[in-house]
Structure formats: C-alpha cells, structure tokens
C-alpha cells in the first residue's frame, strides 16, 4: 500500500486547541482530556499535539523532532544536521510504553542554531534556510522525517488514538501556553507516523479536519514558489499557504485567513468600496490560494492562534472563552469537559476567522 507522499490521502478528523492569551501555562493533561472525548472522530490511525512554550531553556534554538526508521537514515540525517546547524543537544524524546502504540520509529530531538557561515553562503534568510534544510531531509533522506522545527515549541505525533499518543509522549510532563491536538480518520492509509497531525514548519503548526476539494489547485499554486508537497495531504498544503502568505508576502495572519476563506462574490458585491476593493484584489491575486471544500483548521504559532472554517460551514468548529483562555474543538462537548462554564460559546463561521493573539508574544530573534 502507498503511504503519504506516494499517494494523495484525504482524511476526516477531530481537532481541539487551548490558548492562554497572557501566556500562562496549561498542562498537557487538559488537552488530552478534551481530544479524547472525541474518540469516535478518529480511527486510531493518527493522533498528535503541538505545544508552544515548552522549551523555555532552549527558547532561542530550533527544536527539531525527528523520526528515524533505520540506523542509516539516523546517521545520514545527523551528518546533515551537524553540518548545517550548531547542535547543542541531541537526545531521544522520552516516551512511555503504551499497549496500543507499536512498531514506531526511533524518535529524537535536537536543539541548535543555524550554521551562520553556511546560511550566509546560501544567501537565504534564516527562515528560508531552515525550511530548505527541513524540506531537503524530508524529501531526499529516505527513512528520516523532521516533524517539528520551531523554536520553544514542539509537535508530538504517532499512529494511534490521540489520548494514547499523549500518554506515549507523557505530555502531562509538559506545560504550554498554547496546545493544539488532532485525532485522525484517514480514508486511505496504512497509517504512517509522519502522516499524523499536527503538520509543522518553523513555528507554524496546523491541525485540520476535513477534505479540501481545491487540493491540487492549492498545491500547484504553492509549488510555484519552491514548496514541494511531499506528503500530499491537505494539512501540508494549508501550512505552506500560510507560511508563504505570512513569511514571504508579509501578510498579517488575519489577512492570510481572508485569502484562504475569502467571502463569496455575492457578499463582496454588497460591501462598501474599500472592503470590496480589498476582497476583489485578494481574490484576483490569490485565486490559487482559495481553499474549497469542508475544512476546519487551527493554526498555532508563537504569535497566537488562528481558527478558520470553510466558506460554506461544512465542517464543525466551536469556540469558547473564559478569562484569559480560549478553547476550540470540533465538538462543543470537548470544550465543556475541560471548561464546564465558559463565558461565551460560538460556532466559528466561514466568513469570520477567529484570531487569538498572544498578548505577550515571545521575542523574535533573527
């Protein structure tokens, strides 16, 4: 059977997220509790989490989480990493034996900074340099797969139900100001660890529920700009779209969200002149980045959280707030189990992306 990257795999899913706007820390057990309530929305073929603020002691270093399928891949990948980065720490990610999770790869993490000499020679800015190194390993190093490459954040994913994945990685040992979680129901896959969500590049992580019908239009759009959609999943392409719009085009996250879920022409035609011009230009320039079909997406970053829903509201996504915290989940019950008395609960609408900025964003260093 073909795995992600060899064939396009659409999938349905459950997603959940929690953010503390003031940067207060939340224990991993909470997000596990939330996502595990939606057990039936996944089928045991993938689960994962993204956590922000978990590596304060290494906050200025890139944290690479890597799956190795064999010794040779491990060795070759390390060679590459040590050449292109100044690695401070190389260690196995601690895991616990869980009955339902087996046959996994060797899972390592590395903390390090870019090799400035090589970066300068490559004439790339730092973000682009890191992205290209990650892309290179994932595309060309068979058996090695970098599934997390941000700073002071990390993704944890595996083949299994999300609650088992959380236990496997012992996420109750981590505290983060922003958690996202995902339970996967792929419609055609043998279940590959790299294929689980969240999907990550630099500080961006994405969990996604749905199957986008615009996939190939989006893929062929984004591949114009040097991206290679090696995974052939919706999540990958959405991540790249955000990365391109935000990092290359310098758009604010909420403008990038408008690109992906632009309002319908009917609606645009009724807007005032300024907004009409804004959306018409957006749709004219970024027609290839419009995402179509049912989806709900939560984009995590060190600047905050963005939740978007498809234009026709074909997928469920509920939001709630209480105090400094905002909660998101595919089902309202998954919010109420960890926050029984929210102040405000609403269904995220297609035309109105929800952006929850972190009010004390981590200092960026380039």
């Amino acid at each position: 059977m073909l795995k992600e990257g060899q064939i396009r795999i659409p999938s349905g899913c459950a997603i959940a997220a929690i953010i503390d706007r003031k940067g207060g820390l939340i224990n991993g057990s909470e997000i596990i509790k939330s996502i595990s309530l939606m057990h039936d929305r996944s089928n045991g073929l993938g689960g994962g989490f993204a956590a922000y603020g978990i590596y304060p002691e290494h906050k200025d270093e890139y944290a690479f989480h890597i799956f190795f399928e064999n010794k040779e891949a491990h060795q070759k990948c390390e060679e590459f990493l040590f050449k292109h980065f100044n690695i401070d720490v190389a260690e196995r990610i601690p895991t616990k034996k869980v009955a339902s999770i087996s046959n996994g790869p060797d899972i390592w993490r590395y903390f390090g900074r870019v090799n400035r000499v090589r970066m300068k020679n490559s004439r790339l800015d730092e973000g682009e340099y890191v992205v290209q190194c990650v892309t290179k390993i994932n595309a060309a190093y068979d058996g090695a797969y970098i599934f997390s490459s941000g700073k002071n954040m990390g993704c944890f994913k595996a083949v299994g139900y999300p609650e088992d994945v959380g236990e496997f990685y012992m996420l109750d040992q981590y505290n983060a100001y922003l958690w996202t979680a995902h339970g996967r129901f792929p419609t055609n896959t043998p279940g590959w660890w790299g294929g689980a969500h969240p999907f990550n590049i630099l500080d961006w992580s994405i969990v996604h529920n749905g199957e986008i019908s615009s996939y190939d239009a989006n893929r062929r759009y984004i591949e114009q700009f040097g991206y290679k959609c090696t995974m052939q999943t919706d999540t990958e392409v959405i991540t790249y779209l955000f990365d391109h719009l935000i990092r290359h085009h310098g758009l604010p996250a909420n403008v990038a969200a408008d690109v992906l879920t632009a309002p319908e022409w009917d609606e645009i035609d009724r807007m005032d002149k300024e907004k009409k011009e804004y959306f018409t230009n957006l749709r004219a320039i970024y027609s290839g980045a419009l995402v179509n079909g049912p989806f709900s997406v939560i984009l995590g970053s060190n600047k905050g959280l963005l939740a978007i829903n498809d234009r026709l509201k074909l997928r469920s996504l509920t939001a709630a707030t209480k105090g400094d915290r905002a909660y998101f989940a595919s089902e309202e019950s998954a919010i109420r189990i960890i926050c029984p008395d929210p102040e405000k609960v609403w269904s995220v609408s297609g035309a109105d992306p929800v952006f929850v900025p972190l009010e004390t964003p981590e200092k960026e260093d380039d």
Partner: protein, 500 residues
C-alpha cells in the same frame, strides 16, 4: 465540364410530403432546388449540396432529406476517396485547397479521454441550487502580492483587470469573415452574459458602438481597422500572432467580400483583397513583441490589459513563457482543432498540436517558472460542451474561447464551406440577401441560452466535485483522470490514469 469528382450529397425530396411551396427553392444559395417551367413542381439538383440543412430545417412538411452520395471506389486504405478527390480538384484548379471550420480529421480528442471526479462520503458534494456557485473569472496581470494597511484595506496598485461572469468568451471572428449580424448577435449575448466577444482582425463596426465594454479588439498582422479609438473602445486588446487552424499562415479576405461596410471597418479600399501577412512585419522576435505590447499600453494609457494569442505549436510552452515575460497580461493559446473562416486544407489538417497538450504544457511551464499566477491563460480550439470547458479549466486555463459552438447555436451546420461566402445561414457571408437571414434579436437569445445552459452545467459539475468557486477548479488536475492514454500523454497532461 467533367470534373472527375462525384458529388458529396444527394438531396432526396419525398414527393408524398412535398407541397411545392418553394421555400427550399428560395432558400438555397447553392441552387440545389428549382421549379419546373410551369412553376408548380419543385425539383432537386444535388450537385452543389453542402449539407447545410437550410432547406431541411425550413421545409414545413419534412419532405427533404440529405443523404451521403454513395459511390464506391475500389477499397484502398491508403488512396482514400478523399485524397483522390482532392487531387482531382487540384488537377483542375492548380490551386491551394481551402477549407472552413476546424479540422475534421480523426485526431485524438483528449477531452474524450479525460474523466472528471465527484465527491462521495468523505467530502460533501454541493448543491448549486442551494449554495452560491461562483464562476466569475478575473483576467489580467496580477501583482506578486497584496499589500494592506490593515485587514480590509488594500494598498496595492492593481494593473487593469477584466471581470467576466463566466469563464466562456467568444473567440475572434472578424466582420468580413462573418456577417455584421452574426457579430452583433455575439456582442449582444456577451453584454447580457457579462462576458466578452472578440472583433477579430476586422475593425469595429460603428453599429457595435454600444458593445465596446464587452469587446476584445484584435491587432493582427494586417493591422486592419486599428487606430487609437479602436484600441480604447475595448475591454482588452489582443495581439494575434497565430491561429490554431492555420499556424504560421496569414489571412486572406477576398475582395468580393470587402463591401462598403467591411471596407470602412477595416479602413481599406472597397473591393480590395484584405491580406494579413503571415508574420507581423514588426515582430520578428520576442523583443519586438515586447515593443508592440508597450506601444499598445501607451496608446491605451495603461488602462487595457494586452493579450497575445498564439497557435498551439510544438514549442508552445516556451513561447507562452516568452510572451508572459514580454509583458503579455493574458496569453491565449489556440489548439489545432480550432475553427477558421478559411484556411489552406493541408495546413489546417497537419500543423499544430491539440489544445489539451498545449494548455497542460504551457500551464506547467509557467508554474515551473513561478509566473503562472501573475498572468491569465485562455484556451481556445474547439470546446464542444461544458465538460470540455471544465476539463480545460482543471488543466489550468483561466477562461476559454468558444466560436464554433455559438455559431452552431446561430444555425451553422459545419458544412465547412465558409470560404465560399455562400453561407445559407447568413453567418459566413456578406451577401445582403443571406446576411438578413440572421436576425440578431433571435440569435443573441440562442447564444445566451447556450452559454447559460453551459454555465448551469459547469456549476453542477463543480458542485459534484465539492467545489463552489471556479478558482478552486483552475489547475486542479487531481479532478481529472485519463482513460486509455499512454504514460507519456498522462505525463504531459499532468494527470493520473483512471483507477490510480
């Protein structure tokens, strides 16, 4: 004179049904019907019949039938009757064989070997009756990125854009090659449909002054009718480099078609042959094209996008890329099955490549160069139904040019004798007794109905795919699967085989 060529068709008149009303006699410009001397009995003489069906369609009692004239030759798979007949015709005339409309040869039609996708279970199909289904298309050069002051306020300076409400536009057909009534019907339909018609290289007749906001004006190698007002009375300007039916060949409108109206619109003397040279004599290379594009932009104060129309030839992808880099905002590619008012038969049937392959190659090339999203790509060259259009858009076209289909809606029966100027349906002729047969008040409605029907079908197909905006169909090749195609064909089309 004996001409060694049997006739093509036999007109059969059923005497039991014929009421001798003489409608056929008065309608056939090829004089296939006539009255007996007493004026009471209608008779037939099939020699000149082209199977245009004018008599058949108007006969009130259905008394007429057209049959292929069967006259067997000794079997020969190589020397087919057609080649023998063409040799005889050339032996008689010593001339280049001419034909009208697109090639009838049985080359592969890839549209018929590509199948579309639909949603099942994992992704809901969308009901176009319930949900908005968007087919609005925006043509023109796009900036690399938007710049915003904040969410909701754009600060980017947009080059001129052309919004059309359907991805279907009417391809270039000049006044001269078709009648003013035919062109006016297309203009009226374009206006009401929110799309565009194309003047071809025939200038803009003053009667069409009300339709300049839905006109594409063409600048071709003959520069007929081109002046500053002509360029500015348009939505966009198209430089015609080539035509799918006759790549590398110019045009020739015989003097007898250049009546006073045509002569005025084209700005040439009445009765003189209108000859469009094979190349533009000021474009001998890509840098010359750039100069012409910029001249047109100057003449139009940078308010009109400039399109470059090229024929689909072997190196089409590289040529398209060159045009984009020379400043073309829109690139139109015309496949070799595209129609024509008159083309040398040998050129029409042997030069160029199919639009499917040309479009796929050009779209991919522009993407490989990272410039596909900056310009618009228009496909032309025989779209027979809405599914062809959907497939073209999924291969990568922004919009499609259609000409033969609207002509058929107006009565064309593909008799392929446009070049004779005796079109019984009043389309490809300038004879007043024939052109008046085409009433724009009727024909614009028929063309509108056709395109509206196609729009509905496109929306229906998109809904089935779970797509509610044509933006998400464009270049979405995963929605296509090939059937019975070779690895190489699939590779060029960039699609998978059915079942994969």
């Amino acid at each position: 004179m004996v001409n060694y060529i049997p006739r093509r068709f036999t007109v059969v008149r059923d005497r039991e049904l014929c009421i001798d009303c003489g409608c056929c006699v008065r309608q056939c410009s090829n004089e296939c019907h006539y009255f007996s001397d007493d004026g009471k009995t209608a008779l037939v003489k099939s020699d000149n019949c082209v199977a245009c069906h004018r008599c058949v369609d108007l006969c009130p009692t259905g008394a007429l039938r057209i049959e292929k004239y069967i006259c067997d030759y000794r079997d020969n798979a190589n020397w087919t009757p057609q080649y023998q007949q063409e040799i005889c015709r050339q032996a008689e005339t010593g001339g280049v064989l001419l034909s009208g409309m697109g090639t009838p040869k049985p080359y592969p039609i890839y549209w018929d070997k590509i199948l579309l996708n639909a949603s099942q279970v994992t992704n809901p199909s969308i009901d176009p009756l319930r949900e908005p289904m968007e087919i609005r298309t925006i043509l023109g050069r796009k900036p690399e990125k938007i710049t915003v002051e904040k969410k909701g306020k754009s600060t980017v300076e947009m080059p001129p854009q052309v919004i059309i409400e359907t991805p279907i536009m009417f391809s270039a057909m000049s006044f001269g090659s078709i009648s003013l009534n035919a062109q006016k019907s297309l203009a009226m339909a374009a206006k009401s449909l929110g799309t565009l018609f194309n003047t071809g290289e025939g200038g803009l007749h003053p009667d069409l002054a009300d339709y300049t906001d839905c006109a594409i004006v063409q600048v071709a190698s003959g520069r007929f009718g081109v002046h500053k007002d002509y360029l500015n009375n348009s939505r966009f300007v198209e430089i015609k480099i080539g035509q799918g039916a006759k790549p590398g060949i110019g045009g020739h409108l015989p003097g007898e078609k250049v009546n006073v109206e045509v002569s005025n619109a084209r700005m040439i003397p009445e009765g003189s042959d209108a000859i469009s040279p094979a190349p533009h004599h000021d474009i001998y290379s890509i840098e010359d094209l750039r100069q012409l594009i910029w001249s047109i932009k100057q003449a139009t104060d940078n308010k009109k996008p400039v399109s470059v129309k090229i024929a689909a030839v072997h190196n089409v992808a590289a040529i398209a890329s060159g045009c984009a880099r020379a400043g073309a905002d829109i690139i139109a590619i015309d496949g070799f099955r595209g129609g024509t008012g008159a083309a040398p038969t040998r050129i029409r049937d042997n030069v160029g490549i199919p639009i499917e392959l040309a479009l796929a190659a050009a779209d991919q090339r522009l993407r490989d160069e990272g410039i596909r999203s900056r310009i618009s790509l228009v496909a032309a060259g025989s779209f027979r139904c809405s599914a062809d259009i959907v497939k073209a858009i999924a291969l990568g076209a922004d919009a499609c040019y259609c000409a033969s289909a609207p002509l058929i809606a107006m009565g064309c029966h593909m008799c392929q004798t446009c070049n004779t100027g005796k079109c019984n349906w009043g389309i490809a002729t300038q004879r007043p007794e024939l052109t008046k047969r085409l009433n724009p008040d009727i024909m614009h409605e028929r063309v509108e109905n056709l395109i509206n029907a196609w729009n509905h079908e496109i929306k229906e197909i998109m809904g089935g795919m779970g797509i509610n905006s044509i933006d998400s169909l464009r270049g979405n090749r995963l929605m296509l699967r090939g059937l019975g195609l070779s690895e190489k064909e699939l590779e060029i089309l960039g699609i998978k085989h059915a079942g994969e």
